[in-house]
Each structure stands twice: as C-alpha cells, then as structure tokens.
C-alpha cells in the first residue's frame, strides 16, 4: 500500500531542474501551487497546462513516474468530480435525472468539476516534479533551511527535517513489514478483503497492533543507534552535501515570476 507513494522516489538525473537548489525549488513549488489556486478561467488554465508540461519536459523524468504518483489519487479525483458535478447549484441545467429530479448537472457544476480535477492533478504533478528531481536528503535539508528563520517562534526546524528523513527512510521497511504481517494473519484465517467497510476496518486491527508494536521497537533501536553515533540535535552539525544557489536558480525564479504575472494578467483579462 505504501508502494505508490512518490515521496522519496527520487529519480536521478542531470536536468536543469535536478541541478537547481532545493530551497529555491521548494519555494517555487509553493509559488506554483498558489498560482494554481488563483486562476479559474479556461485560457489561464490552458497556459498553466502548457507550463506544467514544459516543467515535466524540463525535468527529463519519465512521465510514467509522474502518472504513478497520480494513481493513488484516483478515488479522490473521482469523488471530488462526482460531488462537484451534482452538488453545484446553477442556472443552466444540462441534464436532469429522469427518476429523481433533484439530481441534475448544471453548466456551473461541470466547470467546477473539471476545474477541481485539473487543480488536484496539477497539484500532484507539481509536487511530483519536486520530489522526483530532489534527493530526499536535499529535500529535508531544504525544508530545514527554509524553516530556520521561524526558529524564533519556536519552530523546531531541525527536528522536523530529521523526522521527515526517518519517515522517508522507513516507508519501504514498514511497507515490507505490513505485507509480512498481512500474510501471517491471512495464514491464520484473517480476511482483509471481504465484508463492508466496518468489517474491513475491524479486520485491520490484528494488522495494526503488531505493526505499531514493531514500529515502537524499531524507534527504540534507532534512537540508541543514533545516540551511539553522537547525534545531539541540530547544534554544531555540519553537512557533507552543501547547498548552493547559482545563476540557474536566479533564472528559474525570474522565469517563474514572469510566468505568474502573465497567467494572472490573462486571468484578469478573460
């Protein structure tokens, strides 16, 4: 079940985006998401789509990796689409259910549904481009550096970054373990597949309890192993891989700002 998670599935490469500084990439990704939520007109979306495709092309990441990131989103996508399609009130009615007249599709509903799907899809693509082109270490280091100024309001930047590092590291280990426990419980007659939602949720208990116990034991072991290697938080810690900004990052930022201005201009205009 964890296999579809794209975070931490860094694809090595040498593209322009790969070579960018992680901090700049993270901030620009946030910027990308903000723009995404500011626009709503079809023309602006068309430009945004072109831009997103350009980003994917620039990253040189095989599209199948990005599609893989979308797969676990399928249900959410369908759910939001259906909800928006039927629930949005509007004046131009396109279709009415012959059996139940409250169920109808309006023009407004259709546009909102399409808009929501596009937003979610681009959200995933945007963040996938970030995580697929940035090594987990650089990603967490970048977040640590970005959060550093917030330490004055007691944001534990180093701890947050370390927690993310460990989480990324343990995703495959825990997923393997989940599978193992699942098989062990199935061998004893546990049934994870049939029954209604409640029954299935109940069937998860014999899976989750051993998983939690083992996770706590792992955490304990890991803490001792980290202590043994002189870990003492972020103070006086150095990093082997230093981050540095180059002209490349300046160009990327300028390009992004230019693009944002253009898209918002189009949005206002049409």
């Amino acid at each position: 079940m964890f296999k579809d998670i794209t975070i931490g599935q860094y694809v090595e490469g040498n593209s322009f985006i790969h070579k960018m500084d992680a901090r700049v990439k993270i901030l620009l990704s946030l910027f990308y998401i903000i723009i995404l939520f500011l626009i709503s007109s079809p023309v602006a979306y068309a430009v945004f789509t072109a831009f997103t495709l350009f980003l994917v092309y620039l990253s040189k990441v095989p599209p199948k990796f990005i599609l893989r990131g979308l797969k676990p989103m399928m249900y959410i996508l369908v759910f939001t689409a259906v909800l928006n399609l039927f629930m949005t009130q509007g004046s131009t009615v396109l279709w009415v259910c012959p059996f139940w007249s409250t169920l109808k599709i309006t023009k407004e509903g259709l546009t909102t549904a399409v808009l929501m799907i596009l937003r979610l899809v681009y959200l995933v693509i945007g963040t996938s481009v970030l995580t697929l082109t940035t090594s987990p270490l650089m990603l967490t280091d970048g977040i640590e550096k970005i959060l550093k100024p917030f330490e004055i309001i007691k944001v534990p930047s180093h701890e947050i970054a370390m927690m993310m590092t460990i989480a990324i590291r343990f995703i495959p280990t825990l997923s393997e373990e989940t599978e193992k426990i699942m098989k062990a419980q199935m061998a004893r007659g546990a049934d994870f597949e049939s029954g209604n939602v409640l029954k299935r949720a109940k069937a998860m208990i014999p899976l989750l309890v051993p998983l939690f116990i083992s996770a706590f034991r792992r955490a304990d072991d890991l803490a001792v192993a980290m202590d043994s290697r002189c870990y003492h938080g972020g103070k006086n810690r150095t990093r082997m891989k230093q981050m540095k900004m180059t002209v490349r990052d300046l160009w990327a930022t300028l390009f992004m700002v230019g693009f944002a201005a253009a898209v918002i201009f189009i949005q206002k205009l049409m």
Binding site: R217, R218, A225, S228, R229, T238, M240
Partner: protein
C-alpha cells in the same frame, strides 16, 4: 583500551521493587588491537555490557574507562562514542538515511566535521567495507549483509579505535554472515582495530584471539579460543556449543579415535583428518 573495574548494573524490578543485578562486579581489560568474542546465554548481560562501553548506559557501581576516559563523566560522552563505535543486531533499525553515502556521513556530520573531510571519510569507509559501488543506492534495496556492512562503515566514519558489535550476524543468511565476518576480521588484522564481538555463533567466536564467556552478569571463562573449546564437556555444561569441527573431533575421540583437542577451524580439522587417513593407508 577498554578498562572495566568492578562494573555493576542494576535496575529496580517493577513488581517487587528490589534491585536486580544484570551485571555484577565485572572486571575486564581489553588490549588495544585485540579481537575479543563475548559469549553467553540469552539474558546473561552481554548487550548491557556492550551499552556500557560507549556510555549509552552508565554503571550503577564501578567504573568503565575507554582509552582512559571515564564513561560516567558527561563531557567525555562524544569522544567516547566516537572512540568506541557500536554496531547493532538489526541492520534495518540502525540506518537513518535513505541513501547509503548519507548514512555513512551521519556520524561525522553529528561531530561537526568539515564537509570535504566527511566526503573523504565516506569514500574511504565505503571502500573498506567493499560497498563503494552502492554509495548512491537506497539501503532498503540491499541484502542484510550489505546493510550491515553499511552500518559498519557508518561507525568507521567516526574513525574509532575500537568497534563493538552486538550480534551483528544474528539476522543474516550464511552468505551475509561470511561477508560481515570477513569485514570484521580484516578491520582487526589489517587496520589494528580493537574488536569486541558479541555472538551466538561458535565458529565466529573461534576467529577471535580471546573469548569471554558471561553468565548471570559475570565473566566465568576468559581464555584463548583453543583453550576454551578444548573443554567440550565444560562448555556444554554451561549450555553453550563448540564449533562444528571441534564437535566432530570430540565425537571421534569418544569413539576411541585419538584426535587433538584444540582444533577450532575447518582448515586445521581437514589437515588433521587427512593426515590420519594417509596414516591409515600407509599402515
């Protein structure tokens, strides 16, 4: 190198509230450059002893000195931990980073070593454990033996004088065990690293220069492997085993065939048996 004087460690039992001793008045001195194997039953206090050697646990009584530094003195903590590196049983539970080279860099980063020097150490340590080609891999894709060698490299990156391994091969397959043991042996032989190896495998213990057997928190046997394993009956009485070859020769002896008592390696055993067979043919 390691000097343990009258070490005791106790904890308060939760139910009876009495003091329970895990280690009791243990004395042990380990020379620089030696290879010591620690044997003993489950619960005999081996891991507890190991955790005293780098200050993860502090003595309830007695003293532990690592390269002359008292582990109880807080300002020594980091120098002790980087002098006496520790490798644990489960390779999955001691790896912090999602990339092999970042994992090896973890300890020197904690110690505040400058970046270029960390890079140098990482490359060197991966070379030592023969894992250079996996520098950029994810540890989760490696075999158990490879993971454990990465863990060893992660400790070597602190440039320790001594390495303590708590059952490093217990969760590995035979191939992984061989890889790890080869690495440990070469660290000791070609780099003069002091090695303390806790193990349940007798053939691993047979590779050491010295065997310490623990029982109920005390040292009950402390000798060279040949001596320790020559007393097969005594070892079995404690509930431990002897290496397979020693066992084989022991059984041959009890069948009335005259065989030497102090054979602990396959090569020696092979030679002894071949010599006997040749002797028979000539007769």
């Amino acid at each position: 190198m390691i000097d343990i004087e009258k070490l005791s460690f106790s904890y308060d039992d939760e139910e009876t509230h009495e003091k329970k001793f895990v280690i009791k008045e243990l004395d042990l001195y380990i020379d620089k450059g030696s290879f010591v194997a620690v044997l003993g039953h489950n619960g005999s206090g081996k891991s507890t002893l190991a955790k005293h050697l780098n200050g993860i646990l502090l003595p309830s009584g007695g003293k532990v000195y690592i390269a002359g530094m008292d582990t109880a003195d807080e300002k020594n903590t980091f120098s002790i931990r980087s002098t006496a590196g520790m490798v644990f049983q489960n390779p999955d539970n001691q790896i912090v980073a999602a990339v092999v080279e970042d994992e090896v860099a973890f300890a020197p980063e904690n110690l505040g070593v400058p970046p270029e020097e960390i890079r140098r150490r990482v490359d060197e340590c991966l070379e030592i454990v023969n894992m250079s080609e996996f520098a950029k891999s994810s540890p989760s894709r490696l075999s158990g033996g490879q993971k454990q060698r990465v863990a060893i490299a992660g400790v070597l990156a602190m440039e320790p004088e001594c390495i303590i391994l708590d059952e490093p091969t217990a969760m590995l397959d035979p191939k992984g065990r061989r890889e790890v043991m080869r690495t440990i042996k070469s660290l000791n032989k070609s780099r003069g690293m002091t090695v303390v190896l806790i193990t349940h495998y007798m053939d691993e213990a047979a590779m050491a220069d010295r065997i310490v057997v623990m029982e109920k928190g005390s040292v009950i046997i402390d000798d060279v492997p040949k001596k320790v394993f020559s007393e097969v009956e005594k070892i079995k009485e404690i509930g431990l085993d002897v290496p397979q070859v020693t066992e084989l020769l022991f059984r041959l002896r009890s069948m009335g065939i005259d065989m030497p008592e102090d054979i602990i390696s396959v090569e020696e055993c092979e030679k002894v048996i071949l010599d006997r067979l040749k002797g028979l043919k000539n007769d």
